[in-house]
Amino acid sequence: MKRIRVSVIISMLLAAMALAAVQVSAAEPVRLVLQWEHQSQFAGYYMALEKGFYRQENLDLAILPGGAHVDPVETVRNGRAEFCTTMLAPVLSSYDRRRDNELVLLQQILNRSNLTLVAWKKGRHGSEPIASPGDLNYKWITLWERFRPPYQAFFKKFDITPIILPQYYTFSLFLRRGADACCAMRYNEYHSLKQYGLRDEELTVFDFHDLGIDLPEDGLFALKKTWLSRPQTCAAFVRATMKGWQYARDHREETLNVVMRYVDGSRLSINRPHMAWMLDVILESIFPARESDWVTGQLTEERYNRAVSILGLGSAAPAYNDFVTVGAQRGLH
């Protein structure tokens, strides 16, 4: 009798342990919202998912595509996603330390600025040459509302007063010579313009990186609350993501195939050569060349402060330690 009881207890204990093990092994569902439609800009996330790196970290990740009508920051604040990828500038510009649902930077993905301003070399009428930033004074420039702060910094730096027109999803206004210049990401619109048959001889490109307005771009963000309450999840997510980026760097063709699957799956009319170009530029911005002042994933205090000062935020900006998590402070060392 006694023996039987002991055995029952032991078997009950074993059952309880097995149950606990099942609970531990069940992956934790998390969501990542992208700042734009599917493209090579997010290749690292696709590859980490594709190769099961998130699964290995016991994460069950869902990638939510962005777009013109999706604000990733708002999506995270509203709790519709745990993580988002977006540019550092708009996050800092809209930062309000009084809010309790502010974001923290988990990892700085793109450390090199890809913002450019592309202008007709001879002006939109072909009669007013544009060669230097100063030539843009009183010129018609179309701007993305979302990325206004760095452009404002550019205008301020070169003391330019342009006439601003809105730039939406296309650059038709610029193409039809309704503007002298337009915004262009080096990895995206700049290359699209060339695919439309425009030649380098026709264009003047102002590369913000070269002009010293070197704002770090895409970062991985989460609510501070999330970071504080689920630090292991956040760390696991960052680890898997960076592994995905490394994989993308080492397997470009495979990565391109996956990217094109996402692109075609969303019925986006984007061609493969364009995605190849984008992947190359993005990877250059993540993995530094040998002599760079940054390491992958890292946002140093110095670069942070410089960004704050370029954006002219002053004391409105959060403190480095409040905003940049330890992972982002260290990067992939």
Binding site: Y168, Y169, T170, N271, H274
Partner: protein, 786 residues
């Protein structure tokens, strides 16, 4: 191959067929390339016209749409901007133009929508009905090209093609700003669904593999056979993604020519199939688009290829049809030739009865057969003729040779002619140029002390000459025997021969009488070459009066000349065959050479003189054919009654031989003559004969290293005691008395060859002596009587 080379039949057939085939092929090829050029030009005209008509048709549609929208915009400025007016305007637009898919009126963002009662209104066609709606997300619409472009550009714009999310249709939109003063209060648009354009383009007659293509202002492919490229790729992006450099170049050059010109055609290699294709295009100026047709060259050229194949088949059939006639023609030519060649073979074997192919044709072959037949007949008769003439000729030749024999037989030919006159040395030869010659010589003793001799040459040759010569010779001999005077004889004979000499023949003659006692020579010359008088030291022509030849002129005078023949002197008579002997360089032997010969090497004996001179003349002619008879007569006389030598008595007889075994019979004849004259016994004669023969053979065989003529002298004395002989030659020294006695006891096979002859001579003689005097071997042989 070798068979083709050998066979005329095959070569002819090949030539006809090959030539025909080449011409046909050349025509087919020319036709093909001409057709190809023409059809390419035709197709270019056709497709560029098609493209421009499609572009024009679409442009008309665009313009009609523009007209509707522009009118609506003009109207909207004057009408109150209310929801009702807007809706009726939109419906009117759709009703006015059935091509318009949808139409929108959007108030500018800053306009008061409360007052108007709407912000953006949209009407669209759904089947036959027209539906309207208020757009749900005006903020997004304001960001789209169809609103922002006319709004910010302040001018009418055709947008690039886009897929409208609300109605899920590929469309382009014409949008016009509604302007009041400088302010844009609204934008009015009309949409054209591209499906209709695509359908109408696809419906064009472009052949099975021809495809339409539509390219936007910025090179984006709106319509393309590769649907996966549509709305996604531009020519630049395709070039960027191209794996091959050649493809990249093709794509970039297409891009350049599309943006570079309004219309045209372009040949290129297709990316995947790598086949040549043509792009014909035209442009739509209102939107800056290009309508193009991609037509594979294979399709364009298909009719040419089909025609080419058909032509080729017909050509091959034609050539096959040509085959039998070609073979037939070749056969009609070669068959008689083959038969002829067989006939020629048989003919060559002497079969003149061979049958020839029928000669009823009149062409070259017929003529050849006829000619062959004539040749056969001619050949047959010619051979018959030849056989006859040959027989006749042989007969004549045999008669001639008989005549020659007769002619030669009437000449004295026994030398020495008068052995009893041992001091007289006389020798003569006649060698004819043809079988029967016209030369003559003669000599005879008129009495014991007078020697008659003559030499002559009849004009002309052959049988008549020989007959004339026979007459002349006989007349001369008989006459001189009677008259005993050369000049009178010649005069007499001349008159005899002149009578009835209708053939105008004549004889040059030299004749003379030598008194053997006094050595006086009386002679006369009838137009003959003067004889040469020579001795060891000199040679000269004999003086003689020039008289015409015999039978030339009756009563011609002849004169005797006199001369005492010096001791040791010799007289050489000759005919012009000697001096006129010619060598291949057409040089004459001449009198100078004759004199030179006699001066340089004065021969010892008459026979030596004649034979050496003959040899010299033959050597000079170097094998050239002898053109005239050569007759030589040499005479010398030495009175042995008055011995000149140191020898105690002059020899009873003297014989001089040349170093040739053919001379031995003369030695035998000489001994036989002596036997009769001196009354020798048969045994003595044959013994002497054997001894002399043995010795002479020895001398002739071994004494002379050169091949010159040498004289061997045999002197013979006889007295009561016996016979003494002295044989001398100018050969290498040889002493027969110094030779060893052969070992007669040894076996035959062990004895050395030779030596026995000398032994025989020594044992047969009573005495044998040897001396070497004046460079000559002198062997004295003594045979005692009894």
């Amino acid at each position: 191959m070798a068979y083709i080379k050998r066979s005329l039949f095959f070569r002819l057939a090949l030539l006809i067929l090959g030539g025909g085939s080449l011409v046909v092929l050349a025509i087919v090829a020319f036709n093909h390339f001409q057709m190809r050029r023409n059809i390419l030009a035709d197709q270019e005209r056709y497709y560029t016209a098609l493209a421009s008509s499609a572009a024009a048709k679409f442009s008309v549609q665009l313009m009609e749409t523009q007209k509707v929208v522009d009118e609506a915009a003009a109207l909207f400025t004057t009408l109150p901007r209310t929801r009702a007016t807007a809706l009726s305007l939109l419906k009117k637009c759709l009703r006015l133009n059935r091509n318009i898919y949808g139409s929108a009126i959007a108030l500018a963002p800053l306009e008061n929508d409360q007052e108007a009662g709407f912000r953006i209104l949209y009407a669209w066609r759904e089947g036959e009905r027209i539906r309207t709606m208020e757009r749900s997300q005006p903020e997004q619409d304001y960001q789209s090209d169809w609103f922002s472009l006319p709004y910010y550009l302040s001018e009418s714009v055709w947008t690039d093609p886009y897929v409208d999310a609300d109605v899920d249709t590929l469309m382009i939109t014409y949008c016009t700003p509604v302007r009041i003063g400088e302010r844009t209060v609204a934008v009015i648009t009309c949409d054209l669904a591209l499906k209709d354009l695509q359908t109408s383009l696809s419906g064009l007659e472009l052949g099975r593999h021809g495809k339409p293509m539509l390219v936007s202002r910025f090179g984006k492919l709106i319509l393309h056979p590769r649907s996966e490229w549509m709305h996604k790729e531009t020519f630049v992006s395709l070039a960027e993604g191209a794996k091959k450099g050649a493809d990249r170049d093709t794509l970039l050059s297409i891009s350049r020519s599309l943006s570079g010109s309004a219309a045209g055609s372009f040949r290129f290699r297709q990316i995947v199939s790598q086949e040549q294709a043509w792009l014909y295009f035209d442009s739509i100026p209102l939107t800056g688009w290009k309508i193009g047709f991609i037509i594979p060259e294979k399709q364009i050229l298909a009719p040419v290829v089909r025609l080419g194949v058909k032509t080729l088949l017909i050509a091959v059939c034609g050539i096959l049809l040509l085959l039998p006639p070609a073979f037939f023609i070749a056969r009609t030519i070669t068959r008689p030739l083959k038969a002829l060649s067989g006939a020629a073979d048989q003919l060559a074997q002497g079969d003149f009865g061979v049958s020839l192919p029928a000669a009823d044709r009149t062409d070259e072959i017929g003529r050849l057969i006829a000619a062959f037949d004539r040749m056969r007949t001619d050949l047959k008769s010619y051979i018959g003729e030849l056989t006859r003439t040959t027989a006749e000729k042989e007969k004549i030749a045999s008669e001639l040779s008989i005549a020659c024999e007769i002619q030669h037989s009437i000449l004295p030919k026994i030398f020495p002619p008068f052995p009893q006159r041992s001091g007289l040395d006389l020798y003569a030869t006649l060698s004819s140029a043809r079988e029967v010659g016209g030369d003559l010589y003669d000599f005879t003793l008129l009495d014991d002390d007078h020697l008659y001799f003559c030499i002559g040459d009849v004009s002309g040759k052959g049988v008549p000459a020989s007959l004339f010569m026979a007459v002349g010779k006989t007349l001369l001999k008989s006459t001189i025997q009677t008259l005993q005077d050369p000049a009178k004889t010649l005069f007499h004979v001349n008159n005899e021969l002149s009578q009835g000499n209708e053939n105008c023949m004549f004889i040059t003659t030299f004749c003379g009488i030598l008194d053997l006692r006094t050595n006086e020579l009386i002679y006369a010359n009838a137009g003959h070459n003067p004889p040469v008088l020579f001795d060891q030291h000199q040679a000269r022509f004999l003086d003689s009066a020039s008289s015409p030849p015999l039978a030339a002129m009756p009563d011609s005078p002849f004169r005797n000349e006199r001369l005492v023949l010096p001791a040791e002197a010799k007289l050489l008579l000759y005919t012009d065959g000697v001096t006129e002997a010619m060598n291949p360089q057409l040089e004459l032997f001449g009198e100078e050479r004759l004199l030179a010969f006699l001066r340089e090497q004065p021969p010892q004996t008459a026979e030596g003189c004649v034979s050496m001179l003959s040899k010299r003349v033959r050597g000079f002619a170097q094998g050239a054919e002898q053109s005239d008879d050569i007759t030589l007569l040499c005479i010398s006389y030495r009175d042995l009654q008055h011995p000149l030598e140191a020898n105690d008595t002059s020899p009873t007889s003297l014989l001089i031989l040349t170093n040739h075994t053919s001379e031995l019979p003369r030695m035998v004849a000489w001994l036989e003559d002596l036997q009769t004259r001196l009354g020798w016994s048969y045994e003595l004669t044959s013994q002497l004969n054997l001894i002399l023969e043995e010795w002479l053979v020895n001398v002739i065989s071994y004494a002379f290293a050169d091949d010159h003529l040498h004289e061997i002298e045999i002197r013979l004395w006889q007295d009561e005691a016996g016979v003494r002989m002295e044989v001398s030659d100018d050969g290498a020294p040889f002493d027969p008395t110094a030779q060893k006695q052969p070992d007669l006891d040894a076996a035959i096979e062990d004895r050395p060859i030779g030596g026995l002859g000398i032994h025989f001579i020594r044992t047969s003689l009573d005495e044998l002596r040897y001396a070497r005097t004046d460079g000559r071997n002198v062997v004295t042989m003594i045979k005692q009587k009894g």
